[in-house]
Structures are given as structure tokens and as C-alpha cells.
């Protein structure tokens, strides 16, 4: 009986949609070294689960105009990173990003999760951009986005 309950509980947790568990987004273990070195050189190496596979493919097909920057890579590295992102991409429509290339800050899910963040926090000089997860998520570098770890710049 107890075992059955445990299995039932475990099953419930596993069945939760990805976004409901999105306060824990550790870097998948099969991340190529190039992911941290190339993507992580300019921004937090974003969790692949924050965009869909077609979104990541579009991002990786347009690196020469990467949100205002030329982030071009050697083809071998580009393919390696794209395969990793696609492998761990989100499958739900609300994780699909608007824009070209699509932005993970413009998915229905992201917008909803951040709806209570005041405009002043986004404009803060230390935040600079919605791309700067670690400005408020103090353990974002470790893949943790739990509520109690959030420190808005205004309250520092």
C-alpha cells in the first residue's frame, strides 16, 4: 500500500508539466563544452527548455544577426550546439518565442512568470536586459530559479 502510494506520488511529480518545475533548470549533463564557452561567453547559457526546437533552429540559423550582434560560429560547433538545444527543447506551444530570431523572453510562459516584475526593475542599470537572468535570480548560474532566491535590484 505504502509502495503503491509512493509510486503514485512519484508518478504525479514526473507527470507535472515542464514549466511547473521550471524553478529547477540545471544544465543538461550532455551539454557540449562549446555551449558554455560560446553561448556562455556573452550571456548566461540559457536552459534549452525555455524555447521550442523550431525556435532554437531559427536562433542557430541566424547567428550572424544575433539580437544585434554577430555571433557566428564554425559550422561544426554551430551544429553541435544546435543538436544539444534541440535535444532538450520545450515541446509546448506556450514556450514558443515571438520575434525573429525568437526570444525566450517573449514566450507566453516567460511573460506570465514575470508579470509581477515592476517596470522599474527591468529598467535598472544593473539589470540592463531581460536576458540578464542572474540580475534577479541569484542562483541562475547554478540552474536554480526558486522564488526565495529572487532579489529584485530595487530592494538591494
Amino acid at each position: 500500500m505504502r509502495t503503491a502510494l509512493a509510486i503514485l506520488l512519484a508518478g504525479t511529480v514526473l507527470a507535472l508539466p515542464a514549466a511547473a518545475r521550471a524553478d529547477r533548470l540545471p544544465l543538461p549533463a550532455d551539454a557540449p563544452a562549446s555551449f558554455q564557452a560560446e553561448c556562455g561567453g556573452c550571456h548566461l547559457p540559457y536552459p534549452p527548455a525555455l524555447l521550442t526546437a523550431p525556435d532554437w533552429q531559427r536562433v542557430m540559423a541566424t547567428l550572424d544577426r544575433h539580437y544585434g550582434d554577430n555571433a557566428g560560429l564554425e559550422e561544426k560547433t554551430r551544429r553541435e550546439i544546435e543538436a544539444f538545444l534541440v535535444r532538450h527543447a520545450a515541446t509546448r506551444g506556450r514556450m514558443s518565442g515571438a520575434g525573429d530570431p525568437p526570444r525566450l523572453t517573449r514566450t507566453e510562459w516567460f511573460q506570465r512568470e514575470h508579470r509581477k516584475v515592476p517596470a522599474t526593475a527591468w529598467r535598472d542599470a544593473q539589470v540592463k536586459s531581460a536576458a540578464n537572468c542572474a540580475a534577479c535570480h541569484t542562483r541562475a548560474e547554478q540552474g536554480s530559479y526558486r522564488g526565495r532566491e529572487i532579489v529584485l535590484p530595487r530592494s538591494r
Binding site: 561567453g41 556573452c42 550571456h43 539580437y67 550582434d69 554577430n70 536586459s129 536576458a131 540578464n132
Partner: protein
């Protein structure tokens, strides 16, 4: 360009076992610059001037200082994404200017962004001497 590739190959071969020192990197760029323009001597002063120059090619990144602050020994912040950047100066961050391929990659990326062109070997030699030694 061919000289750059040769330099990189030489550096890579010479440093396959151990990483290069910033001075070895600066010397290699200086040697390449001297081949292009005989009599070239690297200058930390010229490097300092280069570091502080507002090239103003890019709105968000008009100068090296846009991300790396006025002092290469201080931590910086990416002007667009806000990501924290470790100090450029090896005296503050020991791993800087020890990996030839990484140094070439970031010169190529950042020079293209900030100057709108690749940097010359002379500029790279001056730059490394400045961030390594200060003034």
C-alpha cells in the same frame, strides 16, 4: 591573414602542453607586426590610448570600456546582456591571455563589434602589453 594563421599554428604547437604567458602572446603579435612594418616596438602607452578610444561604430559598444570599464583590472559587465565579465588584466584574473585560440577568437569578435574591422597584430601587441602591465 596568412601570417595570422601561421602565428596561431606556431603558438598552438608551442603551447600544446602548457598554456602561453601573456608576454609570449604579446611578443608573437609584436613579431608579426614587425614583419609587416619593420622597426615596430609594442607600446603599453599606445595600448592604453587604444583601450580608451571611442570608436563609436556600435551604439551600445562604442569602446572597449563599454563592457570592460575604464580599468582592465576591474570586473566588467556586458553592455547589452548585463552578464558579469571578469577583469581583463592577468594581475586580477590569472587565466587571461594564456590561451592563444581564445585570445584570437575574442579579438576577432570584439574588434569587429567595436571597431567595425579586425584588429592588426600591432594593435593586439600594444593592447596585451597595456592590460598586462598597466601604465
Amino acid at each position: 591573414m596568412k601570417a595570422s594563421a601561421l602565428l596561431l599554428a606556431l603558438l598552438a604547437a608551442a603551447t600544446a602542453a602548457a598554456a602561453a604567458t601573456p608576454r609570449e602572446l604579446a611578443d608573437a603579435y609584436a613579431a608579426e607586426a614587425a614583419r609587416q612594418s619593420p622597426g615596430f616596438k609594442p607600446s603599453p602607452q599606445r595600448g592604453a590610448g587604444f583601450y580608451a578610444t571611442r570608436f563609436a561604430v556600435s551604439d551600445k559598444m562604442p569602446a572597449c570600456t563599454s563592457c570592460h570599464t575604464d580599468s582592465p583590472a576591474q570586473p566588467g559587465q556586458h553592455a547589452v546582456t548585463g552578464k558579469a565579465i571578469k577583469p581583463l588584466a592577468p594581475r586580477a584574473e590569472a587565466a587571461r591571455f594564456t590561451d592563444p585560440a581564445k585570445v584570437e577568437k575574442w579579438f576577432r569578435r570584439n574588434c569587429t563589434e567595436v571597431l567595425g574591422r579586425e584588429c592588426s597584430a600591432a594593435e593586439k601587441a600594444d593592447f596585451i602589453r597595456f592590460v598586462t602591465e598597466g601604465l
